[in-house]
Symmetry: C2
Subunit: 698 residues, 2 copies
Amino acid sequence: MILCALACSGATAQTIKKVAPGVWSITYGTPETFTPSMFKKAPVESNQSAPEQPPVDIQDIRFKTTSRGCVLELPMDDAEKIYGFGLQVNTFQQRGLRREMHASSNIVGNVGFSHAPVPFYVSTNGYGVLINSSRYVTFYCGTMQKAVDLKDNTARELGFTTKDLYSPHNRYSDRMIVEVPSEKGVEVLLFAGPGMDGAVRRYNLYAGGGCLPPLWGLGMKYRGKGDFTDERAVNLAGYFRENNIPCTTYGLEPGWQSRAYSCSFVWNQQRFPEPAKFINKMDSLHYHLNLWEHAYTNPVSPLFKPLKGKAGDYMVWGGLVPDFADPKARAIFGAYHDTAFVQKGIAAFKLDECDAADYKDAAAQWSFPELSLFPSGIDGEKMHELFGLLYQKAILRIFQNQRTWLDVRSSGAFASPYPSVLYSDMYNNADYVRMILNAGFSGLLWSPEIRDTRSEADLIRRTQTGVLSAQLCFNSWYLSNPPWFQIDRAKNDNGEFLPDRKELENRIRSLSELRMRLVPYLYTAFSAYHFDGEPPFRALVMDYPSDDTARTVDDEYLIGPSLLAAPFLDGSSHRNVYFPAGNWYDFNTNRKYAGGRSYELDMTLDQVPLFVREGSILPLADPVPFIDAQTGFKITCRVYGGQPAAGSLYEDDGETYGYEKGKYNHVVLKWDGNAGHVTRSGNFQGSLYEVKNWEKIQ
Amino acid sequence: MILCALACSGATAQTIKKVAPGVWSITYGTPETFTPSMFKKAPVESNQSAPEQPPVDIQDIRFKTTSRGCVLELPMDDAEKIYGFGLQVNTFQQRGLRREMHASSNIVGNVGFSHAPVPFYVSTNGYGVLINSSRYVTFYCGTMQKAVDLKDNTARELGFTTKDLYSPHNRYSDRMIVEVPSEKGVEVLLFAGPGMDGAVRRYNLYAGGGCLPPLWGLGMKYRGKGDFTDERAVNLAGYFRENNIPCTTYGLEPGWQSRAYSCSFVWNQQRFPEPAKFINKMDSLHYHLNLWEHAYTNPVSPLFKPLKGKAGDYMVWGGLVPDFADPKARAIFGAYHDTAFVQKGIAAFKLDECDAADYKDAAAQWSFPELSLFPSGIDGEKMHELFGLLYQKAILRIFQNQRTWLDVRSSGAFASPYPSVLYSDMYNNADYVRMILNAGFSGLLWSPEIRDTRSEADLIRRTQTGVLSAQLCFNSWYLSNPPWFQIDRAKNDNGEFLPDRKELENRIRSLSELRMRLVPYLYTAFSAYHFDGEPPFRALVMDYPSDDTARTVDDEYLIGPSLLAAPFLDGSSHRNVYFPAGNWYDFNTNRKYAGGRSYELDMTLDQVPLFVREGSILPLADPVPFIDAQTGFKITCRVYGGQPAAGSLYEDDGETYGYEKGKYNHVVLKWDGNAGHVTRSGNFQGSLYEVKNWEKIQ
């Protein structure tokens, strides 16, 4: 429905459409091709109420074309704060910053580059804005002051230090300025609230709803060394079973292929001479198998010939770059993976190197140039922004009624429904935590994988962060033995183990068990991601946009409706924790904290930095060693505080897309003051949970 | 003269013009506006012979427009090496690299960003290529392999380390690929040799000839602390005279202005209450005064109102960005400087911050956005590339018959005739030396200024590098006392001096005296820069393009016809020195080295890493304490080897542009085997040199 099309003198010509309840599309100038929305899923309907009017006065949005492309200006008020832009790494609140949407495996200082840039931001005023462009869009979030705003009294005094001289000066303007290069038009999507959380939910639902992982995806993933043979992989997989360390997924790194960098997508004859036997063996150990790859297709690959006419004009690592903007190229790529791997028992893939590295030291630069041209007509710049998304689409198309759980190194706009976690080789601990929060603003999931650690305490604290994230993953691609045997890389490879290795192993076991205890709660949080768009992991500001402290907290986050995590960084056991309004319980000790203020807290390495909202019923499972179709969970409900709201558990088969056809249950948990009550409703015939205990916590 | 205009099927439509002897212009597509050449000076005629045919087969140059702009491909042969791209910092030979021409005060890893990017490269095959664009042009110097080149046998084996996995793979292609964003056409200028040196000379002459500094510009410049008062500046200036340390120029840093960051361009009433008196006093001490500034115009400035309608739509540090692409804005800016400063005795300016800083930590980012628009019609991206150039033009226009010598933080294409030295806050010692070489490929001059040093030895070695560069400059903008009093910043400010301060002072005096001894030689080398285009400071490869070692040497360089410098880095007294063909003498000991090989050399701190070509007559002056209109030089000619070629000295008034009207002399120095002979020819009436001694060195 086109609401209006204005071209009055002075005003910007525009076409306004309401594209979903609470979602408006405003189009200026000549439409762009290969936009993110061209590849998106259909929206999931929102049950939120929607305002009748757009959340931003469209007449206040200015558009112009320029010699370089086009420029938009959107108004901001003085108090408004801005979050989002995808998987931002080293910043949180973005007002006052320039953010350049540029898919990149490194951050180039601090300019907005990201594995998963998303041209979407959300405001504390309760609305979201998406620039539907696959260009390297730049957002000047109130950084640039216009000359027309210049007042004679803004002159400042002399400075004599570098800090004085370069300090920002009136940099917080009241305009969000957006540049879209090379285009003469742009579509803006406005997402109404209510609230920041409401705007983000609306974005996620418009994208197709958040993903629902397979149940097994929520357990621990372990990725073994890159040059392991089948035998060494099986041995390591056996180690977890023998030592009762829960683990659901085993990942193979490049050595499973006959060629890598670029990829053959063919089993390595020396290391894996009998893939079927290997897959069977891992299946008998109850593992889901995940295969590493990237998309650059080596000349020896069976995919090379079929893709040769469907690839970009420049190579990466001597391999073709498939034209994933072409559905036929995605179909060829997917069909091969289906026949060669999925039909033979492979559960998932790790889609590596689908970002790029141009802005780093020359020797480490790689990827196709932006000037590349692909047969579909897409250019290299747009392909960079979309490659991770389209690569996921190529793989996901083969998972028709079987869910999968991908690792992916790049993603973008409207990725909410993709069952994928992002990961990185940048290992800054504070960044890894912040990325959990930032991912939640833009329909992304982040896996703070564990590999490099500074100390044993750092290993434990990083593992805790993994437990409290979208994925618990150890990525030991260069370690012969698990990192808890030895954190030093050379010694680990050499078989020189830490003297207290068993103690560390016990802690890791406990943490993987804790992850298993949380699986029903997390799975339920993911169901809210799918059906309501609610990010399972999200910044405090999302739920408390008016709380000035919450606006700045970038190292704590909410998990589902009831939990707050406050990870320890760099092996520390001490930190400041801010609690928003309400009362909060220490998950370990049940000590109660009044919200609206901060506390200096210490925790032993056995304690996890997890807190429970008063009034919650928290379902915790008995840990299971693995997850398969037969897995059921025995639940203990912890009741926090005197008058808890009803809790809930989401239930389905954990494996298929039956839930899209209504095959799921809501298991409602109620506490009447003395006893707990469980009621189940829905169309799923099975039963995933058995509630066996209720624990009252005051 | 248009030679041809082709638009045959398959070939690229183009217009070919010979624009000067040995210089061809090839234009593809729609011409760009605000190109570098639009602002260039008229060519100086070359007395080199010029080939009839372009040095590159124009039919092998491919052009196409794309969704992002346009792309050029130029052929390269397998053995060819590439140099240039302006003031490149951390790389030397550029084949195998991606170089992005982007004016920036930091290098963002290693991607080609530079204070002074120049879209010009020169090949060991003896030709130069300039892309006449003010866009952020990117050169892929054989880094990108086309898919059509893919052979089945290029597949490589598995890698399991980060190094293996990311190593370049067939990255050296045979194509130079150039992307010009936002434009649908481009002009390419081809410069013929003979040789690399010939191509660079032709480029410099086409640009208008290399600059000829005022004689005083070649002596030591000292910049005092930013918050000095007139009294403290005069005291420090007096210190040099009292202690017989030659110094010709004193520079005032920001504190001379009433407001800075942005600038008022008005004397500070507190620090400099009586500017005329101060200028007189410094003049009586025989100093040339240099004033720091940048162009961003503070609202309190007298320049603010006149520039308000002639400035960009975005501010920098709360100041206007003058539209220097408009000759009227340049005229206003220049005229003010003329009246307020030059007519009152100011000799020169330091034009700071005319680059930009976007790709660094958010807190330190500054400058106007690329999407800026200026009244002349130029956009922010082009203005970034041209701002340093145009700022120089605005200032230089007032120096009609009086030469000046500027410091400038950014420059670009066709800057050869501008009497300016570039400087930086990046203080890596190896980079500082490499930048001397790189500047020489593109008509730029680099001042490896001295400020931060690690040790006393580092101070001495850095000073030696300054002596052997286009400018010897101490930039003590944050030091209360000269760095040889105390290298530690806090202690220096505190008046805690080094115990061996006097010994250091003696060394600095000797080095400034050495600089004075070299002034006639350097001045003569600069005259060759002006009249013949020969860079006074240049890489060995420029003169020895077929010498495989010379192609890689990025830490030695030639000065004029006879000298080779091999600076010591980081305070070291040991290094490997490569000598090209011929014999070379140690300047200090007269020890002779056979060329075509390398030597491990040690030198004491009293020795300078300077070598003299056998067969040279090297004129050395008695040091003078300062340089003014009365200065004359007493010369000793050192004769190196048995059968020296004639030496020469260039002679003029050292101050005016009379040389452009032929008012100069050549003083020819000849050695007949027993005695020296001096002959003078030319139209200059005075005499700058008196040759008093000849020294024979075997």
